[in-house]
């Protein structure tokens, strides 16, 4: 549609609103960046190469929290992959009528639930449950595997945080997978049944068509877990030791910030170190989610159209 003069006026009048979004992002990233400069220039790359939190002597290294962030997010994604894939298939293929509506409403409901409620539940119920029913058995039966090598003492650990995060991202990942799955054109489904496929075989074929969207959903779930604070801060146990064992307390960048930021101004460089590690997390999260949304758009133009 060619733009008329009034259209142009209309367009121009809306620009200030959209600038607001842009300026917020620029402002956020640049504030994080400018606050990080101090520590980045003081410590250089070694800041990300070791694990120390010693504000008294201003020695810092945030390798532990960064690894912790990645590991909890990986656990979270694995948990939510298994759970949300089954949930999406069940809703799309096996449930009909009212039951389908109810179950998808539950998923919607849980998707918007404030994370603090998940966090309370996870710290009070999930952690002891996992400690007694998952961590202890794994530790006693497979102590030679480094991941399970330490005895779970309180239960508050990287593992518990990852599982808690995973459960909280299930509705989000499931709704993306479900939307993609139900968007596959009917002809593919008809073609499957037309050559005599059973339901399992048809689902398998349709899922393979949805694969890029599923991968995108997982990347989005991963990005969301990276920055999640409340659930992790209440379940990870806050400890600055670097260990391969999943059952020991750890830290993620956001949990570190949540527990240390309030007092960080007392020490030299401490605040800046926190800003630097948050900058890294933020950039990774932005890049991943942009990549994932590009994957979904590409997939849609290829398969759905």
């Amino acid at each position: 549609m060619p733009k008329s003069k009034r259209d142009k006026l209309f367009f121009t009048s809306l620009i200030p609103f959209s600038i607001s979004l842009l300026s917020m992002l620029l402002l956020l990233v640049s504030i994080l960046f400018f606050n990080s400069i101090e520590s980045l220039s003081a410590y250089g790359p070694s800041l990300f190469a070791k694990t120390v939190w010693d504000p008294e002597n201003s020695v810092y290294g945030v390798l532990g929290p960064i690894l912790g962030t990645i590991i909890t997010s990986l656990i979270s994604v694995s948990v939510s992959l298994v759970l949300s894939l089954s949930l999406a298939i069940t809703i799309a293929e096996y449930l009909k009528g009212y039951l389908k509506k109810i179950v998808s409403s539950i998923v919607e409901f849980m998707g918007g639930l404030p994370t603090i409620i998940y966090a309370v539940w996870a710290s009070e119920y999930l952690v002891p449950f996992l400690k007694n029913n998952v961590m202890k058995p794994l530790h006693t039966s497979l102590p030679f595997i480094p991941l399970f090598s330490c005895r779970p003492i309180t239960g508050f650990s990287t593992f518990a945080a990852g599982v808690g995060l995973g459960i909280s991202t299930v509705p989000y990942v499931a709704s993306i997978i479900l939307e993609a799955y139900e968007n596959i054109p009917l002809i593919y489904r008809e073609a499957c049944y037309g050559i005599g496929a059973t339901k399992y075989e048809a689902i398998k074929t349709l899922l393979s068509l949805t694969r890029p969207a599923i991968i995108a959903a997982l990347i989005l779930g991963f990005a969301r877990s990276l920055g999640e604070t409340t659930i992790v801060a209440l379940t990870i146990g806050n400890s600055m030791t670097l260990t391969p064992c999943l059952f020991a307390p750890g830290y993620t960048v956001s949990a570190l910030v949540a527990s240390q930021f309030a007092n960080a101004f007392l020490y030299q460089h401490a605040e800046s170190v926190l800003y630097a590690s948050m900058l890294v997390t933020t950039l990774i999260s932005i890049i991943l989610s942009l990549y994932a949304s590009k994957l979904i758009i590409d997939w849609r133009s290829k398969v759905v159209v």
Binding site: D7, F10, F11, L14, I15, F17, S18, S20, L21, L22, M24, L25, L28, I31, V82, L83, S84, S86, L87, I89, T90, I91, Y94, I106, E108, M110, G111, G112, L113, P114, I116, I117, A119, V120, W121, S123, E124, Y125, A174, T198, Y200, I203, G227, E228, T229, T230, A233, L234, A258, A262, L274, Y275, M278, T281, T282, S285, I286, S289, L290, S293
Partner: protein, 293 residues
């Protein structure tokens, strides 16, 4: 061969069902335990829970969460209108001029902004306020480095804006092109088409977007950690004095070693859950056909 395929079919169905039920179990369990733990607190504290101040750690009285309720209400009232206006107009721009470079940029920016960790927003906002107040002392009249409802609300706007933008643009796109074409063909201007045709068609969806944004704002914790001030020993004097919020109170109290704070945290969790349930049910009743993102 045939029987194997049939068996595999059964096996698959059972597995998928089993895991799906496993996926839903935590959700039911969560809701149930929030009621089991929260209800006794609220019943015991009675009306005091909504008007009283939080207890001291060793107090026998349960007290109440009035400062947090007021804080959450205050910050929702400030940030919701700003978010809705910015989100709606940005979405209108992007859906009306989808090919324009600005629109593509805005869409990408919204996606990036929504993936910024909320605690990063809190840190950045805190730093911004400190820097602004130190360079321009007159700004002290509006910005409080110790945290305030206003600062907290601004952080909430940043969190909720990409969220409401996504809702609005999805709903605006769902308006059939034929409606708009019909309006253009009788000589209506773009603005008139939006006000007289598009908005009336999706007015229920707009209500949904507003309510879901409100739910998002109410439940946000991390964005307020360093911006609101966590002041809970009294009611906030104005929008530039430090405030508390329900999620902040829960966050601080649930890991405390004090029994009474634990109980208050559970009660507050139940209140938050009930608020959210109320919003969700209104959404479901208002629009049955609108799909949530």
């Amino acid at each position: 061969m045939y029987s194997w395929r049939r068996m595999r079919e059964r096996l698959f169905k059972i597995t998928v069902f089993g895991v799906a039920i496993l996926a839903l179990t935590p959700f039911f369990h969560l809701i149930i335990v929030v009621f089991i733990n929260g209800l006794p607190t609220i019943l015991e504290a009675g009306l005091e829970f909504f008007v009283g101040l939080p207890p001291t750690p060793l107090s026998r009285e349960l007290g109440g969460i009035a400062p947090s309720l007021v804080g959450t209400f205050l910050m929702t009232m400030i940030s919701l209108p700003i978010t809705i206006v910015l989100g709606l107009f940005t979405a209108i721009l992007v859906t009306e001029f989808p090919k324009s470079r600005i629109s593509i940029l805005v869409d990408t920016v919204a996606k990036s902004l929504s993936s910024v960790p909320t605690i990063a927003v809190s840190m950045a906002m805190f730093s911004l306020v400190v820097v602004l107040v130190n360079t321009i002392p007159e700004l002290r009249a509006f910005l409080n480095p110790a945290g305030s409802a206003l600062t907290g609300s601004l952080a909430l706007v940043i969190i909720a804006l990409p969220f409401s933008y996504t809702y609005f643009s999805t709903f605006l796109r769902s308006v059939p092109a034929t409606y708009k074409e019909a309006a253009y063909s009788i000589g209506m201007s773009r603005w008139a088409v939006i006000v007289r045709v598009v908005i009336p068609v999706i007015k229920k969806s707009i209500l949904v977007a507003v309510l879901m944004t409100m739910a998002r704002i109410m439940g946000e914790t991390a964005a307020l950690l360093f911006t609101a001030g966590r002041y809970r020993s009294g009611l906030p004097a104005s929008i530039i004095s430090p405030v508390d919020a329900i999620p902040l109170l829960i966050f601080d109290y649930i890991l405390s070693p004090f029994e009474v704070w634990h109980r208050v945290a559970w009660g507050a969790t139940l209140i938050l859950l009930l608020f959210y349930m109320l919003i969700f049910f209104v959404v479901k009743v208002v629009v049955k056909e609108v799909k949530l993102v």
